[in-house]
Subunit: 312 residues, 2 copies
């Protein structure tokens, strides 16, 4: 029987990733299912979640029935299996570990759900899942951790605590503009990502022209095409650079000192943000890999789910 000190789930909106850890705190096995919470049929109450849970890790549990199980992500939202109330920032690893929400499954297993975080204020901000990625990416006491994606998050870490964060809907706005506005109509998919076009968009967002604001600058995706100054195949990457550039320009207004920077996300997206950050004068943004798995492990350790005999 394998030594499995932890089974962990990253259970988001569109997908479910499952990890089986070994005694050294490393991932021994992982799998990905399309059973995100929006894709799970829940007409019959929690039965859809039960089925997806069993599909994800029933064999692991049968082989190691005493293994604790932890989960992060939208599974803890109001639309998930059970709501895990947001924790206020500032919050650190121990705060997360102390605030797990338990769900007993029909097979008698207990799923421990990590809470999301809320930053209260005139415009509140929330995250769910990213707090665990940040927990896995923290290697120094102070940093800005950037999590580019559908909803990019920029997280300020001080003394190993998450003290503030900001959400930018960059990825989702990009997708909506490409698929559902005039801008998408003249775009053609390039054979490979057009990084010079991306850089050009970033440069516009850093230029005096950006005073006109995003609602205006994005129109140049169309007009530069009209005057023959931007090929159809370059328009999507140009728009991507424009939006990422507007995100970083705004971030510069929010952050007194945006360093050191650690990026967490898909390689392709992190490389884009590295390029854009370099254009903004931040040439040394690091990319953290495996942050989600490491974060799940760390929170489980902090919560005492993993015995102290293991590498925590």
């Amino acid at each position: 029987m394998p030594d499995t000190p932890l089974i962990a789930l990253d259970w988001g909106t569109t997908s479910l990733r499952a990890y089986r850890f070994d005694g050294g705190g490393q991932v021994a096995e992982s799998r990905q299912l399309a059973s995100g919470i929006m894709r799970v049929t829940t007409e019959d109450g929690a039965a859809g979640f039960e089925r997806a849970f069993e599909q994800a890790c029933d064999d692991w549990r049968r082989a190691s029935p005493a293994s604790p199980i932890i989960a992060c992500g939208m599974i803890g939202s109001a639309q998930g299996w059970r709501e895990a109330a947001y924790l206020d920032v500032p919050a650190n690893l121990d705060d997360l570990g102390r605030a797990l929400t338990e769900v007993e499954t029909r097979s008698g297993a207990v799923l421990h759900i990590i809470p999301g975080l809320i930053h209260r204020g005139p415009l509140p901000d929330v995250m769910r899942g990213e707090e665990t990625q940040v927990a896995g990416a923290i290697e120094r006491a102070d940093a800005w951790i950037g999590l580019p994606g559908t909803h990019s998050k920029w997280v300020r870490v001080q003394d190993r605590r998450i003290v503030a964060f900001h959400t930018f809907m960059t990825g989702e706005v990009f997708a909506a503009l490409c698929a559902h506005t005039l801008l998408g109509r003249t775009m053609q998919r390039p054979a490979a990502p057009d990084l010079p076009a991306f850089d050009r968009g970033v440069a516009v967002a850093r230029s005096p022209e950006a005073r006109a604001g995003l609602l205006s600058t994005i129109f140049s995706t169309r007009t530069l095409g009209l005057v023959g100054a931007l090929a159809a195949e370059a328009q999507a990457d140009y728009l991507s650079g424009l939006l990422v550039g507007h995100e970083l320009a705004a971030l510069a207004h929010l952050a007194e000192r945006l360093e050191p920077i650690v990026l967490v996300g898909s390689d392709e997206l992190c490389l884009r943000y590295q390029r854009a950050l370099a254009a903004f004068g931040h040439a040394r943004a690091a990319i953290a890999s495996g942050a989600t798995e490491r974060g799940l492990w760390r929170v489980a350790c902090s919560a005492g789910l993993v015995p102290r005999s293991h590498t925590c």
Copy 2:
């Protein structure tokens, strides 16, 4: 037989409005068809435009075969009946009148298409149709003319010339965000427009929180709902106010002095912009009605299409 010195068409993307003028330069009759250029079947070349044209005004032409015909809007775009090349700004009424593009229809009529305008520069800007509305709205030598809509335009008029303009994709971005992002999922249609929610969005765009930029502030539509501070029925109007507020905040960076202001567009939209402008300290924005018809008449006069015996 009626005295019809001019037949005029406002032929846009989604609709076609036709006007028959009387000898006093007033609209004697008008009609609206759903034959915008994107809705006209053009598989058979220009035949779709011919049919829509005949449907719009064939009876008027048979009653008054010598009436000149003028048109503005997307009918003069590359996707329209015939491309009417953009005219560079600065441009005035006489410049527009001198630059008409002629299309001879299969019935022998001549359609005179008013050119759009282009503002060249690092980020070029274009308009097509709005130049005619501006021509109809100019009552003083100097003004800022705002044309809220799918693509809002802000046009600077000096010495009765259009010297510069800026496009904001506010309306189209609003529609895409509501229909195709997370923000729309929790929105519920209010029984009546929620103007206090609109004002609240405008106020956020004017507040220090707006430093985070539009990609970030729009997320508050969701999070304010999450914390129970914004009802589902208020979320669309709040987002509308946010976007219009970001538009006006950017405009303030572009305009040294944004007065006097004249608004052209649907009543509902102009009243929203009036509210938002008042929040930005511009309490006296006027609303011009009938600008399109008056503009078509004025350009036709300037071009010499309407005999001098008529009120030009």
